[in-house]
Amino acid sequence: MDVEPIEAIVGVALIGAALVGVVMLRPQVQVDVAQGRYAVARSAASVLGYAYVRMFAYSPNPASDVNQTLAEWADAISRDSGLMLRVNLSLSNGSAVVGSAVVFDNLNRSEAAGLSIAEKPCPVYVMPNGTVLSEIVFEREWYNASAQSGTMDPLRLMVVYYDARNGLPIENSSVTVSAKFECMEATTCAGRCANPAVCSLIDPTLEGNATDVGMIYEFNETKDVVTCTDSGTGDTILVCPLAGQVNVTATYDPGGANLKVSRVAAVVEASPGGYWLDAADHSYTAGETVHLTYHPIYPANWTVRRLSDGLVILTLNDSNALIWDLDDPFGVTPGIFVVEAVGPSGPRAYNVVMVRPYILIVRVEAGARA
């Protein structure tokens, strides 16, 4: 049989198309709907839990930014997988859920053709790296000393030692504090004072042990003020301490390796007084309420900062007390926090509290679209 050119061309083209079709033939991937849905929910819960720990609990990122990032990720996963999702974060102290927050929700249960639920508990904790950092937190912006009353404010301060990586306090056997004030020199004193015998009392130091108040060490001692009568004017004047600086050094000795931390505070010549921040406790667990008071009448503006990186976790204005409920996943992190209160007058007041690690439970509900 003769083969016409057109037949040959069509035949060759069809054979070529068949070969290309065979080469292009790919198996269609079979996906078990229920298993696939659960795998998405399970992996999303793990990833979002890790992101919370790394991007918020142990990073200086603001809570609102992290909340938004998690919501965007959940939205992207929902669109990419074709599933409706609901992502809920819960705080647990190990025995009970104490608070929760919904990060993302586009799940319509009445329309869902099937539902898978995955819960992932994440310890909000990272391993320490053994690098010890330390800090002295003065409980006042400055301390007053008065010649007229012959007294001064107690030198109240907190000392904390914490791991650089996870920001959690390190327990020590003992912490000693040594403060050195600025005082008149004995020769100057003898020249100015009508009663130069006080010059023999000049001792610029104040030393003592700090008390363990829950892996945080509090020092609360008062320097004996030395005054004399000015030989020229007859006024009572300060001999020690003088208005100026006070150098404070805290030392602890774990296993023979001395670690010292020093910081400078200020002394102002004024009548002792003013307000302190009083904390009911210094160590808290998720679900508990941090309670600090400033003054029964005068309100203050409050700021809560994480010591390790300065992250501002909470602000509050015009309040006599700080009530901080540790039940919002985006309102608490583990670590040491410095609480600051600014009143209508006088120095700023500070205190320190510690929040223990907790467990974050990420619950992802994945619903198939009908």
Partner: protein, 174 residues
């Protein structure tokens, strides 16, 4: 006469084409012979690759990419958080080594990673990395999960940035 022959030839091709197209579509859409068994195998592979840290030092190596946060007394395993060092190591394995370090039951395996683009809010259409077989054949089952790459990884000179990825595990054969 020639025209009639051509028309007859083309007409005779119609049933061949229809039958061929039908056969190919049936073949492509045909379910796997034992889908539940293959699906279970895929789940096992996903669990080992993304939920466990693997065993990289024994003679019977097991591939596991999960990040481990280690301390002195204990460690925390982060499932679906990929350790970039382990990912680089897995990418440098031969296909034979990779396949034998997974519970595939003799099936071929591919693990693909698709990066999440923060600006577009979408996952990339093109895989950033493919572990395992580069070609697919036969019947296939797959499972899709979402993972976080916990640091930059360099594979074949290309850098995979830290971030969110979609990972697809595909088993095929038969």
């Amino acid at each position: 006469m020639g025209t009639r022959k051509a028309v007859a030839f083309l007409a005779s091709l119609i049933p061949v084409l229809v039958f061929g197209a039908f056969a190919m579509s049936i073949m492509q859409g045909q379910a796997v012979r034992n889908p539940r068994a293959m699906q279970e195998t895929a789940s096992l592979v996903v669990a080992q690759v993304f939920e466990g840290p693997g065993n990289w030092n024994s003679t019977e190596m097991r591939v596991g990419l999960a990040l481990v946060d280690e301390g002195v007394n204990y460690s925390i395993i982060w499932p679906y958080v990929v350790d970039p060092v382990k990912l680089e190591r897995a990418a440098n394995m031969t296909y034979g080594q990779f396949k034998s370090a997974l519970p595939t039951g003799g099936l071929d395996v591919r693990v693909s990673f698709y990066r999440f683009n923060e600006s577009s809010g979408e996952f990339s259409r093109r895989a950033s990395l493919i572990l395992g077989s580069k070609v697919t054949r036969g019947f296939a089952v797959g499972q899709k999960v979402y993972v976080y790459l916990a640091g930059d990884a360099t594979v074949n000179g290309n850098t995979m940035g830290e971030g969110l990825y979609r990972a697809e595990v595909t088993l095929f054969g038969g």
